[in-house]
Amino acid sequence: METDWAAEHLQTIRTLMERSAVYRRALAPIMVWTGLLGIIFGIVGWNLDLRLGGFVEFWSVAAMVAIIGSFLLVRRQALRDSEPFWSPPTRRIAQALLPPLFIGGFINAMIAYFVAKEDKSSCLLVIILWLWLYGCAAFSAGFFVPRGMKLFGWVFIFAGCAVALLLASDSSLLKIPPCLLMASTFGILHLAYGIYLYVTEKRKNAA
């Protein structure tokens, strides 16, 4: 009985400590990095005039560069704060991001190997899917990040819906090249969120 009581107390303590250990790495530099990368890749891709296969491969490379860069930024912050890089909150964030990002990567691989690579119009469908999946990933990560990440996820989901509606209504707005659409969604949204985080972080520090 007494053991049960003490063990239950320890379990409660463990649970509360895990819940409290939210992800505290600064997200602003990661968002700005990803945003700038999205814009640069968007402009480069636009000049390359890519078809579906090349488009998917090109943006897969962009995603890899963004992920590697983000990991390096997180690692640098962890080293600076003398904290472990692969901490429980980092693990939880990675676990939350993994399912939608895995599906995105799987779809990319399917398209790259099995779908007609010369198709250009399907690029928009892929962008819609990426926006939705990325939005879901960001929303899931938002459970372990304190500031605005869930809303950021919703913005991506709504952006995907907006592009889908424009596509369904055959709007002239979608005459925009797919790579520029990527730059104006993934690129601009990340950059805007990064700037917002920088500004609010500065205000917090100044208070």
């Binding site: 003490a6 409660t12 303590i13």
Partner: protein, 103 residues
Amino acid sequence: MNPEAFLQLDRVIHEKGRLAIMSMLAASPELSFTELRDALSMTDGNLTTHIRTLQEAGYVTVAKSYQNKRPLTTVSLTTQGRKAFTAYVDLLEQIVQQTKKIK
């Protein structure tokens, strides 16, 4: 079963609400009053009372500042509080181990 371990348990931390506050603070550099209140589903009054008790014991510090022109109250563990919490958890583990040996 050696009852000494029970007697050594810190009465300030041992209370359910305060133990929850200490546990949350032990895993985080600081937490806002709102974060604590929401995570632990406590009322403002209840949380204030517990924080005051912990503050009087020297286990937590309370800092008041402004964020986006709104007042922000943050709570963090003191060195003394962290030591007391570690000692409390060690004692609990000791109790569990002792009883396991008896069984």
